[in-house]
């Protein structure tokens, strides 16, 4: 995973609430067994509609997507995170996110930032203006120049800043896991007897 530190550039607006992962990548594109190439399927049905803002030329190549509350609710498909990243987004800024979706993003180095409704409104209304997200300082500099702070899980932040791979980190705790397993199987029933 590539380290994430500073993301700066055009803000693309998607002024909708509760955008579910079925909209981000419809199910007919989940049949592929690869991890790459999902960008062309992003918001597939909405991209067929001429008035869909993300189609407009001023938003091409924008690294930041700003949207309403509960973005990425619904299905756990990580293809949604892969598609957003493959399309070119490096950060998604929203009022709130679906839990599984936000986790999926963090595993791929796609930054999710939660901001207060007034900051979201400013970003949506000022698009295609530019903004800067500083993960180290935990701030978003809005187009007006106002810098607003954001919260992020300390461990997620550290992994993103360093581009660390989760599995390698956990493997360093293999002894701890083995001790737990030995203890658990002494006191509990074996899980799968069939």
């Amino acid at each position: 995973m590539k380290p994430v530190r500073l993301i700066s550039g055009t803000v693309a607006p998607l002024d909708r609430a509760s955008v579910d992962t079925d909209q981000i990548v419809p199910k007919q594109f989940l049949k592929r067994i690869e991890r790459s190439g999902f960008g062309e399927f992003l918001f597939y049905d909405w991209m067929q509609q001429a008035d869909f803002p993300l189609l407009w030329p001023e938003y091409h190549g924008a690294p930041i997507l700003v949207t309403g509350r509960n973005f990425g609710c619904g299905s756990s498909r990580e293809h949604a995170a892969w598609a957003l990243q493959d399309f070119g987004y490096q950060a998604i800024v929203a009022e709130s996110f679906g839990d599984i979706f936000a986790t999926n993003c963090s595993k791929n180095g796609l930054l999710t930032v939660v901001l207060e409704p007034d900051a979201i409104r400013e970003l949506l209304d000022s698009a295609p203006a530019e903004a800067t997200i500083d993960l180290e300082a935990q701030t978003v500099t809005l187009p007006s120049g106002r810098a607003v702070p954001f919260e992020i899980d300390a461990q997620v932040r550290e992994r993103l800043l360093n581009g660390w791979d989760d599995i390698s980190l956990t493997e360093q705790r293999a002894d701890e896991i083995a001790r737990y397993e030995a203890e658990r199987e002494r006191v509990g029933p074996d899980a799968l007897a069939i």
Binding site: R16, A17, S18, D20, D22, Q23, P26, K27, Q28, L30, K31, R32, I33, E34, R35, D45, R69, N70, C73, G74, S75, S76, R77, E78, A81, S96, G98, D99, I100, F101, T103, N104, K107, N108, D153, Q155, D166, I167, L169, T170, E171, R173, A174, E176, I177, Y180, E181, R184, G188, P189, D190, A191, L192, A193, I194
Partner: protein
């Protein structure tokens, strides 16, 4: 000194946490859609599956439930699952195996899902297994790879939320109406960031099938997981199943401690009043856009509602029972168990599917299908004009040939009415199995109580 009182979720968490931020996974369920990239990741890194004995795979999302073969890409994905499971020593129930079925149906059916467990799967409806008092939640493919490699997941101690039901379900109302009514009240992010525990006398009175329906839709309120403390109903359901512990009495003794202690507190509590609830149907494009069948299509409250009404081609003020349907889908991990099929068959028996409607029953597993056939339910359905299908996720997500055509309207027992979920341009109304059966015979959304004289 007595230990501090704990909630159910805290007990399961404490039993499984390694250090303070790594959760041990008892049972990892795998299916064909969200696993290929995870197995490929293992291969690339030269890793093994740490605990194949705690991993079980089935094919469900992509399988064809009717005549004909799945398309080439689907077949490649199904073949990849079998190849990956063979390469990594994981047990798999492919299509054609008697234990094949929807991952969230076969877990409980085989007795793999047990109280106090941690269960994960690359599918958001993994919350289903919480009906047994397990901490069960959906994960993405990177996490699937992580669990395959380490049998653990980095996690934060969850926030807890209690949804407490007051009152009783009235005639014609089921677990589905309970949970749809709940999501209508708290919204699709009403439980975000929390693990829910469902409590109240009405929950205790639910069968395991009903509890599975409630827990299944926890994710539709944004919850990470939804749990119901195990009781005698749970234990009776588990006894004798292939995966149940051999010393069952000893296991029951262990399981009884998975209940919230007197005096334990939750981060949040919501009370839902059940008295007066009537059968519920969704009218919009998310599972909180729900109304009583006796009501009308509501006035839009915001732009999200306006978009939904446009997509659904509905006008505010239209009585819900005037809305005609083209299709009926009885199935999905929410409502495809034997009790669901019985409830629908009871409405269908002696009646005919309306001539304007195409209706299908897709049992949740081949075991459910066999059980239903033993009871003669298949004959009731087929005599009425339903299609009787093989098992799978089918039209709940339409990754397979079972999809709606653009503009078609469907009465569905599934869990999501998102735009295009059941097929591009398709329009989904969520409801209980009995309500879907009623819609099939009248050809419109119908208050099932009119058909049972309740």
């Amino acid at each position: 000194m007595a230990a501090a009182p704990k909630t159910l979720v805290e007990k399961v968490w404490d039993d499984h946490v390694i250090g303070d931020d790594l959760l041990f996974v008892d049972l990892h369920l795998v299916h064909e859609v969200t696993s290929p990239q995870a197995f490929e990741g293992l291969r690339t890194a030269g890793r093994k599956v740490r605990r194949p004995d705690r991993t079980i795979a089935t094919a469900d999302h992509n399988v064809a439930t009717g005549p004909g073969e799945p398309d080439e890409l689907s077949q490649a994905q199904l073949a990849a699952l079998e190849r990956n499971c063979a390469d990594f020593g994981v047990r798999v129930y492919p299509l054609g195996h008697r234990r094949n079925g929807i991952v969230h149906v076969i877990g409980p059916e085989l007795g793999l899902t047990q109280p106090g467990m941690t269960i994960v799967c690359g599918d958001s409806h993994t919350s289903t297994h919480g009906a047994f008092g397990a901490l069960a939640f959906g994960i993405g493919t990177s996490e699937v790879e992580h669990v395959l490699a380490t049998q653990t997941l980095p996690q934060r101690r969850p926030h807890t939320m209690r949804i407490d039901y007051a009152g009783e379900l009235g005639p014609g109302c089921t677990a589905k109406d309970m949970i749809l009514g709940t999501i209508a009240q708290i919204g699709t992010d009403g439980a975000s960031g929390h693990v829910v525990e469902y409590t109240g006398a009405a929950v205790r009175r639910l069968s395991m099938e009903g509890r599975l329906t409630v827990a299944n839709m926890s994710i539709e309120a944004g919850a990470r997981a939804g749990m119901i403390a195990p009781d005698d109903t749970t234990f009776a359901h588990l006894e004798g199943r292939p995966g149940a512990p051999q010393d069952f009495d000893a296991a029951v003794e262990r399981w009884r401690r998975y209940a919230t202690d007197e005096g334990a507190t939750y981060d949040r509590t919501v009370t839902i009043e059940l008295d007066g609830i009537v059968p519920q149907v969704s009218w919009g494009t998310n599972p909180s856009q729900v109304a009583p069948i006796t009501g009308v299509v509501p006035e839009p409250a915001d732009e999200t509602d306006e978009r939904a009404l446009r997509y659904m081609d509905l006008r505010p003020g239209t009585p819900l029972s005037d809305i005609a349907v083209d299709r009926v889908f009885l199935g999905s991990c929410t409502n495809s168990r034997i009790e669901d099929l019985r409830a629908a068959a009871a409405i269908v028996e002696g009646r005919r599917v309306a001539s304007s409607v195409r209706a299908m029953v897709v049992p949740g597993s081949f075991q459910v299908r066999a059980d239903a056939e033993r009871e003669g339910l298949d004959r009731i359905f087929t005599a009425a004009g339903f299609e009787w299908r093989g098992a799978g996720c089918s039209m709940c997500l339409g990754m397979n040939p079972d999809i709606l055509e653009p503009g078609e309207r469907c009465a569905s027992t599934s869990n999501r009415n998102f735009e295009g979920r059941q097929g591009r341009g398709g329009r989904t109304h969520l409801m209980s199995p009995a309500m879907a059966a009623a819609a099939a015979v009248t050809g419109r959304l119908t208050d099932v109580r009119e058909l049972v004289g309740g």
